[in-house]
């Protein structure tokens, strides 16, 4: 009985399986968060505040999308701004050439932005996913810069550094940000649902196997190239949608703001801060960091200060909580639960054998200290493999 009790708090699971709170807590928290996000602009209709909300939604979509590929497969991409930019240009070009009026119709272009990105990502991904680790990271950046150069140089299509101007929405005043916010929220929910499905599907299991050990995953019969490519295309889709939302909101598209290296940094930072490879990590990271960033920007009006703040924060997170906030907190919580269950067990059977019942996998709270944070951290031999 005591064994099952401990197992129910997740202590009997191997250490690399992250602890998950009970289903009721997870679903309740998700629903509560959703209600809060829906109510937010109604409670604070001030346009300054709601525009922060819109930016948060844009980054939320991008972060969830980025995490589907980079978080779940372990291939870190710092070049997803390529799709952010393609999404922006897709929406802007269609709107201009089809002479669309500003307004609700532009939101109909979001799936198009996503699809164009997904289609573009397939040959790119096929090329990039031939290499791993640092070479992969570096090549993703190179691809992003190729697109930036193309946007600067294909002046007949993109108007180069002059940029493109979007048709202006018909809404005004306090209502202006509302449609963008709610459409963004809807897209974020769709992205979250996609991530949730991947996380618990057999397909997602293949993705995690690739993250843990690609050779072994291949040996087990997982079609690694196809699996990675699908995740890459899916993440490109959502980042493209985020770009497609950004363009009509800001009203213009420029090469350096579409294919923006700081966008890459921001997305990576907020997913790392929240917890890479988790479902709630990107959400937490985006909801905390983006409002903070926007606030700093409005307060000090200086882009450099938050560049410095972001860099310092990123270094601190990498140093102190390499797995991010979510795994760090849940593992500490698991440690607490285990300690409490163990105390109860010892009280129940004073002559008992302590933790013997949980077998070799019984991990005490000391095993889940600050070191055991991310799922990949506990992988045996992870350190040596880097040299291989």
């Amino acid at each position: 009985m005591t064994t099952t009790e401990i197992a129910s708090v997740g202590a009997a699971a191997p250490e690399h399986v992250p602890y998950r709170p009970p289903r009721a807590v997870r679903y309740g928290a998700t629903a509560g968060l959703l209600v809060l996000l829906i109510a937010f602009p109604l409670a604070f209709p001030n346009p300054t505040v709601t525009s922060i909300g819109v930016f948060t939604m844009i980054y939320l979509i991008a972060a969830i999308g980025w995490n589907i590929f980079s978080g779940f497969s372990g291939y870190i991409s710092i070049g997803h701004a390529a799709y952010y930019g393609i999404g922006q240009y897709t929406v802007a070009l269609i709107a201009i050439h089809a002479h669309l009026a500003g307004g609700w119709g532009l939101f109909g272009l979001l799936p198009a932005a996503g699809l164009v990105c997904a289609l573009a990502s397939i040959p790119i991904g096929f090329l990039l996913l031939r290499v791993r680790k640092h070479t992969f990271i570096v090549l993703t950046i190179a691809v992003m810069f190729i697109f930036q150069l193309l946007a600067f140089n294909l002046t007949s299509l993109t108007n180069g550094s002059g940029g493109l101007t979007m048709p202006f929405p018909t809404w005004t005043g306090n209502f202006f940000n509302m449609p963008f916010y709610y459409v963004g929220l809807l897209c974020a929910v769709v992205a979250g649902a996609a991530a949730w499905w991947v996380r618990r599907s057999k397909y997602g299991l293949g993705l995690f196997a690739i993250r843990d050990d690609e050779e072994r995953a291949r040996g087990l019969g997982i079609k690694v190239t196809r699996t990675k490519l699908i995740a890459y295309a899916a993440s490109a889709f959502f980042v493209g949608v985020a770009g497609g939302l950004y363009a009509p909101f800001v009203g213009s598209v420029y090469p350096q703001f579409g294919f923006d290296p700081t966008f890459d940094l921001a997305v990576a930072v907020l997913v790392f801060v929240g917890g890479i490879g988790t479902l709630s990590g990107p959400v937490l990271g985006a909801l905390v960091l983006i409002p903070l960033q926007q606030y700093f920007y409005l307060q000090f009006g200086n882009a450099n200060l938050y560049l410095i703040a972001y860099g310092v924060l990123f270094i601190l997170i990498l140093r102190l909580l390499p797995g991010g906030i979510v795994p760090g907190v849940t593992n500490a919580w698991r440690g607490r639960l285990v300690a409490r269950a163990r105390a109860r067990q010892e009280k129940a059977e004073p002559e008992g054998t302590g933790l013997g019942g949980t077998g070799p996998e019984g991990t005490g709270p000391e095993g889940t200290g600050p070191e055991g944070t991310g799922p990949e951290d506990a992988r045996p031999g992870a350190g040596q493999k880097d040299r291989a």
Binding site: I141, F145, P322, G383
Partner: protein, 290 residues
């Protein structure tokens, strides 16, 4: 003749790119760290030379006597404070850490120097030597000579000194090097210091031949990484050959086609090479997935 001129320009410019790329590839060879901050460190070196020249009127080439040791210290400090504490997933964690370090430096440089473009305009920056119909800008000749001297010194350090032998041993196998009594941490710190100094030397030339601001670092780092990947991560001679090759290709394309496309071909060459030979031209081991 234009093409011959472009090839010569490419070789001369490739010389100082080789310096910066050598720093990057050397650091990778010793500790498997992709120094993503190399671009902004080049810009930092450029700003140091610029500040010395514009405020104290020290010639940038003479100023290297100050900037090189200063940047060496920067590299050593970065190693001990940023890289050494990383325990797990060194390759990716160090890349991300250096990315973050670069961002912090960029923000600070932007605060100090603002985002106005500057250039170290010495008296000889616009003078050139003409032989027949070929033009040799003096600054490129000087910088090429400096690159040859510094790279020669680097080769001497690596292949003729005890330190170099220890460094090469660490590159081959850090665990075994530690076992035979080599202080790997000290070697690593020194290597990062050397890599950063080389970035500063390259930055001095970059700042004299281009107008730059902190944001120039993105362009620089993507070029340098392309060069290092093409040459093969960790290969010093690969980096030298690839720098010259890439810059010649860029300059020739710029002359034959259009300057705006020069840099794009630069990346296209990179992707083409990686399709055919993922380990780069001189790479020892492939880092590939299939």
């Amino acid at each position: 003749m234009l093409i011959l001129q472009a090839i010569i320009d490419g070789i001369l410019i490739g010389g100082f790119y080789a310096l910066m790329a050598a720093g990057l590839t050397l650091v990778f060879g010793v500790m498997e760290i992709v120094n993503f901050a190399q671009g902004i460190l080049v810009v930092l070196g450029a700003y140091l030379s610029y500040a010395l020249y514009s405020h104290l009127h020290i010639d940038p080439f003479v100023g290297l006597l100050i900037t090189l040791p200063a940047m060496f210290v920067v590299g050593v400090v970065i190693y001990w404070t940023m890289i050494k504490p990383i325990k797990r997933d060194r390759v990716i964690m160090s890349l991300l850490t250096m990315f973050a370090v670069g961002t912090v430096i960029e923000g600070i440089l932007d605060l100090i120097f603002t985002s106005n473009l500057v250039q170290t305009t010495t008296s000889y920056v616009n003078s050139s030597v003409q032989i027949g119909s070929l033009i040799f800008p003096v600054i490129y000749l000087l910088s090429f000579a400096m690159a040859v001297v510094l790279l020669g010194a680097l080769y001497w350090l690596l292949y003729r000194t005890r330190f170099g032998r220890n460094l090469r041993a660490t590159t081959q196998n850090p665990t075994a090097a530690r076992m035979v009594g080599i202080d790997v941490d000290r070697i690593s710190a020194f290597t990062l210091g050397i890599g950063v100094s080389l970035a500063a030397a390259g930055g001095m030339v970059f700042g004299s031949t281009n107008s730059f601001d902190a944001a120039s670092s993105y362009d620089l780092i993507s070029r340098l990484l392309a060069i290092v990947i093409l040459g093969g991560f960790g290969s010093l001679s690969g980096a030298l050959v690839a720098s010259i090759l890439m810059l010649v290709i860029e300059d020739v394309v710029a002359v034959v086609w259009s300057p705006t496309w020069g840099q794009t071909t630069f990346y296209l060459v990179l992707i083409l090479v990686l399709l055919l030979r993922p380990q780069g031209l001189f790479g020892r081991t492939a880092v590939r997935a299939q």
